[in-house]
């Protein structure tokens, strides 16, 4: 990157001509077809698209969980395709936060241990002030010593949000974070994510097929057949729903 200054100040992550091809010959499937996108710091981006559009693949590649066939992904100045397996793992640990749809927590660890897990793995002492802020933001203060099995689904997902925030990562990826929750708890989680962006200046990229969820974001990227087909700023659930219908979901 020629302009590192721009990187550190405005862009958290970027995909450049991101292409992912599964299989070869007759069974070849192009999951991502030269997708380019930038994700600004302090922005809440939703990625939408019908099933098989490549939205999950894009997120997995952005998050360093999967490797591109060609093109590159940049996170905080690192080109992921240039990193070794171990460095990718450390990048995930130190610079990326994750919120998954289900099975988000380690059942044998307490809520607090789950929240500090990435930092514990790196042997990093959590910033207590920030940790307190995060815990209070998601409202988990009185649940910290509980095991996941003693928490409700919504509480578990709040722990997951707190974990993603706790290490103050460059960027947080959320994969259908409300997919397994009822609408009330889903709303609660989305509100926390919104708060994290507005009040804690975090960067979130969320994959979802729920227009309501997308309505909480700043920007929506629409994917179809592995291509970036549209972009919408300041979305609302209704506008997103119309767009999705147009895309034929």
């Amino acid at each position: 990157m020629t302009d590192t200054q721009t990187w550190s100040t405005t862009i958290a992550a970027a995909a450049i001509n991101a292409t992912k091809i599964y299989g070869s010959g007759d069974t070849q499937v192009v999951a991502l077809d030269a997708v380019s996108a930038e994700f600004n710091k302090g922005q809440f981006t939703a990625i939408m698209g019908p099933s098989g559009s490549g939205k999950s693949t894009l997120m997995h590649c952005l998050a360093g969980l999967d490797l591109l066939t060609s093109g590159s992904v940049l996170i905080g100045g690192d080109d992921l395709s240039q990193l070794k397996e171990r460095d990718l793992t450390l990048l995930r640990r130190d610079k990326i936060g994750f919120i998954f749809q289900a099975f988000n927590l380690i059942p044998t660890l307490s809520a607090l241990e789950n929240i500090t897990l990435p930092m514990d793995l790196g042997g990093i002492k959590p910033d207590q002030g920030w940790l307190d802020t995060v815990i209070d933001t998601v409202g988990l203060r009185d649940r910290l010593s509980h095991r996941p099995s003693e928490l409700s689904g919504g509480q578990q997902q709040r722990v997951a949000v707190a974990r993603a925030l706790a290490s103050r990562p460059q960027i947080i990826f959320a994969d259908e974070p409300t997919g397994n929750l009822d609408s009330r708890t889903g709303t609660e989680i989305l509100t926390f994510m919104r708060k994290a962006v507005d009040e804690l200046r975090q960067t979130i990229v969320m994959v979802t097929h729920d227009p309501n969820a997308a309505g909480y974001s700043d920007r929506v990227l629409f994917l179809a057949d592995g291509r970036l087909v549209d972009e919408m700023f300041e979305p609302t659930a209704a506008k997103v729903l119309d767009k999705m219908k147009a895309l034929g979901d």
Binding site: L65, D66, R86, T89, R92, A102, N104, L117, L121, G123
Partner: protein, 873 residues
């Protein structure tokens, strides 16, 4: 349904392998032992059959002295009996036979001794080919003069003797030199090649009688005239023989000899089989656990089968089919392995027994027992998990994979606690002598203790894993914490895995305590009580005893202060408590032989013994053991209600009933540990020729002489006049005994190692199945930034904790049981000794094994595909 079950097995070949491994090992062990036992039995049977082939009847003394070393020993029958039976109707030929135990000296002047296997035999040549079992190889002839001998083919080959060579051999009367005039062997099953039985020296009759100290024959072998059956011959003989002689048909004689041999073989094979069964027992824990996990993993699949209409019986059937397949495949592999193992055993035994070349024949018994045990133990172990599988509700097909989270029932806690406490209470009461249940009481207590621990295991497992792992989070961070938590996560699984290991470890510790205790006792008995003994002359592993030469030589030397020869004998005590119980049951005598306790007696020099040995608590203090008097171990006297001055009755085949006055009692065993000590004259008077020899000689040197130096001076001369004897300083002698003990103990460790290996494989099994179950969790950990090495480490810690838990429990129970058992046999004068070093080593091995076993599963854990693991259900 059968097809579903079979497909399930085939789809998971690796699981089949891990489950089957325990069975393969234990079945191999058992079948291998059975194969080699059968081979030894059949080889020796055909050897006996061939050598006694032409014998139609034998005549021998009806009296017999029971012996701890083998078949009963009988007095001789007079030469005149030969004349009597030779003239009887229906007898074609008769010949008298004497036999004894010589020691052959090799060409380097060293005694030939086998560590295991039959003793070397000497007997007389018989001219009649029907009655003479052996054949001479080409070029040989029978011994005719007192200086001539025939030796067996094996000794000739191994020690490079040929016809015309000189050979030395030791006899009770002393050392003799012979010229080899023939080499002999037994033509088994009509084979051309002569096969050797035991090592043999064949002598001319009167020479044999004189050298072996026999004034008649051990038995007379007869061959019947044409048309006279064995039974007819026996009937004729019975009518003419005096009542103190008996006759057996040739068939009976062969059967009796075969039984004696197979009893000797089973002395060697039974313990090995026992270890095989321990391995099966430990293996069933492993199998039980594997099947439990497999059922848990297959919950959704089984629930789906239930949902689409499978009955409970079919579900159970599918689990049992898997068990049968696993059992069948593993047993088959195990039997093949056992067959290979038997070949190894054969090679190991080849120095002691001459067995036919090639792979031992696989017997139907080995196959059937192997299959039965392999399939049986798998079925039994899989039954409970199978039953549990039938309780999976169809609805489980729709949910997440369920892990066995059933709570620990109150009933389990109550029953477990009761068993455990009862076990402890019984052991405590028996140890405190409040309960008089003896060793079997302790064994019963131990069994209850084990059952209690197995039942309570799941209750202990969680807290124990967390306690053992407590320091981990501090030292090893998240990896340590996750390892610790996972070890205690499924207490039932952890408990069963660990208990299997505990059993093996416990047995090793018990053996270690026994060994350490015996060691300490040997050191005490030989080292401290014989502190004034400087040199020891012994007859080695043979049963031949020492000739008179070493004693005479030592007595003539100026360096020597005292010489105390030790003799052994067997006698039948008629007045012990045990003897009285037997007499009440069987009567005063059985087949003309008095009923009593066959005991080991030792003879010592009547006076020097008190100068050379530190005899503890001698009551009353005496300075001489008079003729026909006996010193008795105080504890033995007390048990039988005897005190010094009482008279006890002892029966000997040679002299009949003797009355001995108890001269004194003594506190603890000396030297080789007999409970009854007489003087050597009394011993000699009552001993059959087999026992009428010095076995060991204790030597005290003049004050101020260094035993090493004197030994070095005396050795060349001693070796020349008594090559059959071993000469050592007391220190080396004790060292040699301890080395023999150590090698036995090491063998037991190796045999028990099998069970421990199986249990450890179980630990590895549990870990890898647990990992399989936690794929998603592992994926999540990797996704949020756990490195491969951190993940591997957490798996290793989990394994270490489980292995350590099993080891620690095994150590604790082992120490308790070992101590109580050793304490229970204190009649043998052994005090329990716990070696801290051994215990520590076993603990460390347990932990290291945990690391080792986790390497493979942990590697697999690190290869989890993160994306596949975390993508939505």
């Amino acid at each position: 349904m059968l097809r579903v079950a079979l497909k399930s097995v085939l789809a998971r070949k690796r699981r089949l392998f891990t489950t089957g491994f325990a069975i393969v090992l234990s079945v191999a062990f058992i079948s291998g032992t059975l194969v080699i036992t059968a081979l030894m039995n059949s080889t020796l049977d055909s050897l006996i059959g061939s050598s006694y082939d032409g014998i139609d009847a034998i005549v021998r003394s009806a009296e017999a002295q029971e012996s701890d070393f083998g078949p009963p020993i009988r007095p001789t029958i007079p030469d005149s009996t030969l004349g009597l039976v030779s003239a009887a109707k229906g007898v074609r030929a008769a010949a008298g036979l004497v036999q004894g135990l010589p020691t052959i000296i090799d060409k380097n002047g060293d005694r030939i001794q086998d560590l295991a296997g039959p003793p070397t035999l000497a007997f007389n040549w018989i001219d009649d080919p029907e009655l003479q079992g052996g054949r001479l190889a080409e070029g040989g002839r029978p011994p005719v003069t007192p200086e001539e001998v025939v030796i067996d083919v094996r000794t000739a080959e191994e020690y490079d003797f040929s016809i015309g060579d000189q050979v030395q051999a030791g006899f009770p009367v002393g050392l003799r030199t012979f010229t080899i005039v023939g080499i002999g062997g037994i033509p088994v099953d009509g084979q051309e090649n002569l096969v050797a039985g035991p090592r043999v020296l064949l002598l001319e009759l009167t020479t044999a009688q004189q050298l072996l100290g026999k004034d008649g024959f051990d038995y007379i072998a007869l061959s019947a005239a044409d048309g006279v059956s064995q039974v007819d011959l026996q009937r004729t003989l019975t009518t003419i023989l005096p009542p103190d002689q008996e006759t057996l048909t040739g068939e009976e004689f062969v059967a009796e000899s075969e039984e004696t041999i197979s009893r000797l073989i089973s002395l060697f094979t039974q313990p090995i089989l026992a270890f095989g069964f321990v391995a099966v027992f430990v293996g069933s824990f492993v199998i039980y656990n594997t099947f439990s996990i497999v059922v848990a993993q297959r919950t959704r699949e089984l629930a789906l089968l239930r949902a689409v209409g499978s009955g409970r019986g079919q579900i159970l059937g599918s689990v049992m089919v898997e068990a049968v397949v696993v059992g069948l495949v593993a047993s088959t592999v195990g039997i093949a392995g056992g067959w290979a193992l038997s070949y190894g055993l054969k090679v190991a035994l080849s120095s002691s027994f001459s067995l036919p070349p090639g792979l031992p024949p696989l017997t139907p018994q080995a196959i059937l027992v192997g299959l039965g045990i392999g399939i049986g133990s798998t079925l039994i172990s899989a039954f409970v998990p199978g039953i549990r599988a039938t309780f999976i509700p169809p609805i489980a097909a729709l949910g997440e994979t369920a892990i066995d989270r059933t709570a620990l029932s109150v009933r389990r806690k109550v029953i477990g606690s009761v068993l455990l406490l009862a076990g402890i209470a019984i052991i405590a009461l028996v140890s405190a002598d409040t309960l008089n249940w003896g060793l079997s009481g302790r064994g019963f207590g131990a069994a209850l203790l084990f059952l209690g621990i197995t039942t309570l295991g799941p209750v202990f497992a969680g807290p124990m894993a967390r306690t053992l792992g407590a320091p981990l989070p501090r030292f090893r961070g998240v990896s340590g914490r996750i390892g610790k938590e996972n070890a205690g996560r499924n207490p039932k699984r952890t408990a069963i895995t660990a208990v299997a290991l505990s059993i093996g470890v416990c047995l090793v510790v018990v053996v270690a305590i026994f060994a350490a205790s015996i060691r300490a006792t040997v050191q005490d008995q030989l080292g401290n009580q014989l502190a004034d003994v400087d040199l020891v002359v012994d007859s080695g592993t043979g049963f031949a005893g020492l000739g008179p030469e070493p004693r005479e030589f030592l007595e003539s030397r100026p360096e020597v202060a005292l010489v105390n020869p030790i003799r052994f004998n067997q006698g039948t005590l008629l007045d012990t408590r045990g003897a009285k119980e037997d007499q009440a049951e069987k009567g005063e005598s059985e087949n003309g032989i008095p009923v009593g306790d066959s005991e080991f007696l030792i003879g010592v020099d009547r006076t020097t013994i008190f100068e050379i040995a530190n005899i503890e608590d001698l009551t009353p203090p005496i300075a001489e053991i008079p003729d026909d008097e006996v010193m008795v171990l105080a504890q033995e006297a007390e048990e039988n209600g005897w005190k010094p001055g009482d008279t006890i009755r002892v029966w000997f085949a040679k002299t009949g009933e003797q009355r001995w006055r108890i001269a004194a009692t003594f506190g603890s065993r000396i030297g080789n540990g007999a409970e009854y000590i007489t003087n050597n004259e009394t011993q000699a008077k009552n001993a059959l020729p087999e026992f009428d020899v010095d076995s060991t000689i204790w030597v005290k040197l003049q004050d101020g002489l260094d035993p090493e130096t004197v030994l070095a001076d005396l050795k060349p001369e001693l070796k020349k006049i008594a090559p059959t004897a071993g000469f050592n300083t007391i220190g080396d002698y004790v060292g040699e005994r301890l080395a023999i003990l150590d090698s036995v103990v090491n063998l037991i460790y190796v045999l028990l190692g099998l069970s421990i290996v199986i249990a450890l494989v179980g630990v590895g099994n549990t870990i890898s199945l647990s990992i399989h179950e936690r794929t998603r969790e592992l994926g999540l950990l990797r996704a949020v930034g756990m490195t491969r090495s951190q993940l591997a480490e957490s798996v290793i810690w989990e394994s270490v904790i489980i292995a350590l838990a099993g080891t620690v429990v095994g150590l604790v129970i082992g120490v308790v049981l070992g101590t109580t058992f050793v304490d229970g046999i204190d009649q043998q004068g052994i005090e329990p000794v716990v070696s801290v070093v051994t215990v520590a080593i076993i603990g460390i091995i347990g932990a290291v094994a945990g690391v080792f076993l986790a390497i493979r599963p942990s590697r697999r854990a690190t290869r989890v595909d993160v994306l596949a693991a975390i993508s939505s259900v």
